[in-house]
Amino acid sequence: MANLELKELTIQFGGLVALQDLSFHVADEEIVALIGPNGAGKTTAFNIITGFLPPTRGHVMYSGEDVVRLPPHQIASKGLIRTFQKTNIFSSVSVFDGVMMGRHCRTRSGFLKIILNTRYVQMEEERSKEKAETILDFVGLAHRRDEMARNLSSGEQRLLEIAVALAGEPNLLLLDEPATGMNPSEKERVMTLIKKVRSNGITVLLVEHDMGLVMGISDRIVVLNFGKKIAEGKPREIQENEEVIRAYLGGAG
C-alpha cells in the first residue's frame, strides 16, 4: 500500500488552473522528488497535502485515509511534516528551544498535569530534551544549540528547519527546496542528511531545483509543468525524457 497517494488533485484560483488532475504516490521509505519549472505548482501541491490549501477536487490519501480538508495541525499530528520554501524558523528563540517546539505533536501533557508537574510531565519533558539533543547532533547543529535562531547563517537556518521538522518524528517528511541558499559543501551535507533521514525509516518527498541533488538522492522523480504531471520515473529516465527537456529548455512545442 502506498504511504501517500494523490488522486486527481485539482486546484483552481479563479480562472487559473494551478494543478490539474495530479496523481502520484510515494511508497514507504522512498525518496521522491517533485520538480518542474517555476510556477509549475510544486509548492501548491505541498500546501494541499499539508492542509494549508483546500483543493478544488481530488484526494490525498495517507496510510489509506483521506486527509484532504483536515487542518494543518491535525495532518502534522498524523506524521506528515513539512518545511517551507522560504526560510521559516522561530527566529527569536534559541536553536534548542525551536527544536523543542517541534516536539509538540509528539507530546501529550495537559494543563492540569502541567500545573501539578506530575511524573508523566517530567518524563515527557526529559524525553523531549534528549530527543532534541539527538536531532541537533544528527543535523550537525549541536554546537549552535544556544544560539538565537536568527543569528545562524542561511544554510544553518535551513538545517534548523529540517531539525525542527524531524523533532515531530515524521513518517513522511516534505522538504520544500531544502538546499536553497546553501553553498556547495552545505548542499553535500544536506544530501547526506536526507539519505540518513530515509535510512531511519522516514519517507521523503522533496521539491528542489538543484538537479545535482535531485538526481543524486531520488528514487523516483515526478515532473510538473503548468500544473500537469508530464513525466514520472527513475532519475535516468527523467534525464532522457524529451518532454521534460522541452519543458525546461522551452523548445518549440
Partner: protein
C-alpha cells in the same frame, strides 16, 4: 519542587522582602500601594500570557477584571457565600467571558483583534453603567463584605487589616506566578511562543493555533477575574470604573516597561509603575510630568523592557552566591 531550585538569589531576595514588608512598612497608605502592586502583578501576569507569549495585543482585559469583581461582589452580597466560592465563581465567569469573546475575536487578525477586544470592554462598561437593577449603575455597589476564609472545623477568619489583605494578595501572587511559570515552561508554553514567533510554522508542527490562542485568552481572563474579585472585597466597593480603559493602559505600561514575554518583567513593571509616583512625591507638582518623561525615556532606550537591564545585576549576585557556596563547602 524543582522550580525552587530554579530561583536565583534575586528571586529569593524579592520573596524575602515581599514576605517581611509589613514589618517595616508602617504607613497605611504605603501598605495600600503594596497591596495595589500585588493586585496589578496578578493582572499583568495573566495578560502577559496573551500579549507577551502568544503575541496577541488584547485591549479588553479590564472587562474581565470587572466581570470578576461584580460576580464576586454580587454573589457575596446577595447570597452570602463565603469568599472562596465567590473567588472561584469570579474566575470561572471571567473565563467563560474570555471563551466567548476569544472565540469571536481570535478569528480576526492583528489590529482587528485589538479593536474588537477594546470594543467589547467598552460595551461591558456601558452595560454595567446602565443595568442599574443588577449593578447599581454609575454609583456602583458599596458595602461589599470583607472576605472570610471559612474552613469547616478549622478556621473562620475575616480579612480586616491592611496586613491581612497584603498577605492574601501575596498568596494569590505566588500561586499566579507558579501557575504561569509551570505553563510557560511546558509544551503548552512552547506552543504559545511558537504561535507568536511564526504561526504558519507552528501549525505545520501540529500546534492548533486557534485552540491554543483561545486557551491563553481564557487563562488570562481568569487571572483578571481573580484580581477583580480581590479588589472588590478589598475596597468593599465595585464601580463601573473597574471597566475603565485607564487600568488597561497601566497594565500595558507595566508589561512594556518591565519586559513582555518574561515572567519577571511584568512583576518589575507593576512594581515600578505603581510605586514610582510615590517616590517622586518629593518633586511635588512635577511628579507626573517627571513620571511621563521617564516612561518615554524607558520606551525609547530600553524597548525590550527593564528586566533585560536587571539581568546582569542578577548574574553578578549569582556569582557571589556560587563563590560563597564554594568557600563554605571548602571550609567544611
Amino acid at each position: 519542587m524543582d522550580c525552587l531550585k530554579q530561583l536565583k538569589l534575586v528571586h529569593w531576595i524579592g520573596i524575602l522582602l515581599a514576605l517581611t514588608a509589613p514589618l517595616f512598612v508602617q504607613s497605611g497608605y504605603l501598605m495600600h500601594i503594596l497591596i495595589d502592586t500585588g493586585f496589578f502583578v496578578i493582572l499583568v501576569t495573566g495578560l502577559n500570557i496573551v500579549i507577551g507569549y502568544t503575541g496577541a495585543l488584547s485591549l479588553g482585559q479590564q472587562a474581565f477584571l470587572g466581570i470578576g469583581g461584580y460576580t464576586s461582589a454580587l454573589l457575596m452580597k446577595n447570597y452570602h457565600l463565603s469568599y472562596l466560592p465567590c473567588l472561584v465563581a469570579a474566575a470561572l465567569l471571567a473565563g467563560i467571558g474570555g471563551l466567548l469573546i476569544g472565540a469571536v475575536c481570535l478569528r480576526l487578525r492583528s489590529h482587528y483583534f485589538v479593536i474588537v477586544t477594546l470594543a467589547f470592554a467598552l460595551i461591558m462598561e456601558l452595560v454595567c453603567i446602565n443595568w442599574v437593577d443588577l449593578t447599581g449603575g454609575p454609583m456602583g455597589m458599596p458595602g461589599i463584605p470583607s472576605p472570610t476564609l471559612y474552613l469547616p472545623g478549622l478556621t473562620n477568619f475575616t480579612f480586616q487589616t491592611k496586613t491581612h489583605y497584603y498577605y492574601l494578595v501575596l498568596v494569590m501572587v505566588f500561586i499566579g506566578l507558579y501557575v504561569a511559570y509551570r505553563l510557560i515552561h511546558s509544551r503548552i508554553g512552547r506552543a504559545l511562543i511558537a504561535i507568536r514567533e511564526n504561526e504558519e510554522l507552528a501549525k505545520s508542527m501540529g500546534v492548533n493555533a486557534f485552540g491554543y490562542s483561545l486557551f491563553a485568552f481564557v487563562i488570562s481572563s481568569m487571572y483578571a477575574g481573580i484580581a477583580g474579585s480581590f479588589q472588590a472585597h478589598y475596597l468593599n466597593l465595585v464601580t463601573p470604573d473597574m471597566f475603565s480603559f485607564y487600568s488597561m493602559i497601566s497594565m500595558l505600561l507595566m508589561i512594556a516597561i518591565g519586559g513582555k514575554g518574561t515572567i519577571s518583567g511584568p512583576i518589575l513593571g507593576a512594581i515600578i509603575i505603581s510605586m514610582l509616583p510615590e517616590f517622586l512625591r518629593m518633586a511635588e507638582t512635577y511628579r507626573l510630568p517627571i513620571f511621563g518623561f521617564l516612561l518615554v525615556v524607558v520606551t525609547l532606550y530600553i524597548p525590550d523592557g527593564i528586566v533585560h537591564k536587571v539581568r546582569p545585576i542578577s548574574n553578578v549576585l549569582e556569582n557571589w552566591k556560587m563563590r560563597l557556596w564554594r568557600t563554605l563547602s571548602l571550609k567544611s
